[in-house]
Amino acid sequence: MSIRHSLLALLQEGPRYGYQLRGEFEERTGSTWPLNIGQVYTTLDRLERDGLVEKEGDDGEGHVVYTITDAGRTEVTDWFAQPVAATNPPRNELAIKLALALTLDGVDVAAVVQAQRTASMRQLQDYTRQRRAAATSADAAPAAQGGPKANDAAWLLVLDSLIFTAEAEVRWLDHCEGWMAQRAVRAGKQRTEVAEYLAAAAAGTRAVSK
């Protein structure tokens, strides 16, 4: 996740201090990815070093206020224009676990798949319920208030992303299970063919080459 670009993008709306930035980030993403304030200030220091933000001074209450520079605005424009690069797949613990389960003896892969599917399904149910609640409250919000509406929509978008990701995980697990079942059938068939062949050979009804 690019904290750097997220903070810069928020600064486009006007000067902010660290706690404000953290609050706005979390509000728009439903606190799904909590930021710690140390991270925020370290990031602001780096942005300042790189000439993307400037300290505007004090807001009178001891908060250091930052403002975005022209170079910072260009950086944000470029960020939105660039697709998120996925050249290096993020480490997927579940895929690694299943790959190992499949290649090691004595692991009940089907049980691993089912346990995970139940957990992922439960998560999907929880996200779906949250989304319904969020959609209901977004519909109920007074139309006159433009600000909260936009944040509601942002939160719905994040929830949808979580829902589709959880769905993809369950679908992938379904796929794994189907694939393993087909593989087991094929292996069983091979075993039967070998057994039939050996039985026929033993009965002397078929020539067996050395």
């Binding site: 909590p34 089912q114 999907l124 149910q125 319920r129 589709f164 079942a181």
Partner: protein, 241 residues
């Protein structure tokens, strides 16, 4: 009245006999209460649709007993079963099963009229159901004047008309785009919240996500169950950094 709307007690269904017998369901126990929305998932051939047809009294168990609102279906005559289905059970078929020579409203009102409800009242209930699925303005259309998605919504309206206590739906979002599909799930969810027991057979995890409980079937057996947490405050806290 007990809150158990549907109960499957050691239910089995075997097709054929002897060496070629196929067991579609094996000793399934499942209880669904009023107000509950349950999804049934599982691979093709796992017994999902068999479970639904048995629950709806469209097929008979070869072992165990199915109870709808406490009534054992095994002992009912064909007429008694038909009456129970009309009154208590709404069924959404995968292929809709609508009557092409009737309008949308007539299709929806049909089970009510067959049950002896006066035509005018049945028509009013049909309009209410069509409104719930968002197509009240298409009430006078015939089936060949409607898209697949619209017909599907007529089928759902027919299943929910007259506040039926048990709604059974077999992949009811199949012909719909994702936003319209969500609308249908909202309708099913709403029926559960109004006190019906709803059973949804689906292979779409995202749709099953709407349910209170998800039952996983495999080879005719229930292998697991996922129940959502009911405390929203524990959700999304302390999640991924």
């Amino acid at each position: 009245m007990s809150s158990e709307v549907l109960q499957l007690d050691g239910v089995s269904r075997t097709y054929g006999a002897g060496a070629t017998a196929v067991a579609a369901l094996r000793n399934v126990n499942l209880t669904i209460h009023a107000g509950e929305f349950v999804a049934v998932m599982g691979p093709s051939g796992s017994g999902k649709s068999s479970l639904l047809t048995l629950a709806g009294g469209l097929d008979k168990a070869t072992g165990g007993e199915v109870f709808v609102e406490g009534t054992p279906l095994g002992g009912l005559s064909i007429n008694e079963l038909a009456r129970l289905r009309r009154r208590a059970v709404g069924y959404v078929f995968q292929d809709f099963n609508l009557v092409p020579t009737l309008t949308a409203a007539e299709n929806v009102a049909l089970p009510r009229e067959l049950d002896g409800i006066p035509a005018r009242k049945a028509r009013r209930q049909a309009n209410d159901a069509l409104r719930l699925v968002g197509i009240e303005d298409l009430a006078d259309r015939f089936m060949d004047q409607m898209s697949g998605g619209q017909q599907q919504r007529v089928a759902i309206a027919r299943a929910i008309v007259g506040n039926r206590r048990l709604i059974l739906a077999d992949e009811p979002t199949g012909a719909l785009d994702s936003a319209t599909g969500d609308g249908i799930l909202e309708v099913l969810r709403g029926r559960a919240e109004a006190g019906a027991a709803v059973v949804l057979v689906t292979h779409e995890a995202r749709h099953a996500g709407w349910a209170d409980r998800v039952v996983f079937l495999k080879d005719g057996r229930i292998v697991d169950e996922a129940a959502s947490q009911h405390d929203p405050s524990v959700l999304l806290t302390g999640r991924a950094h």
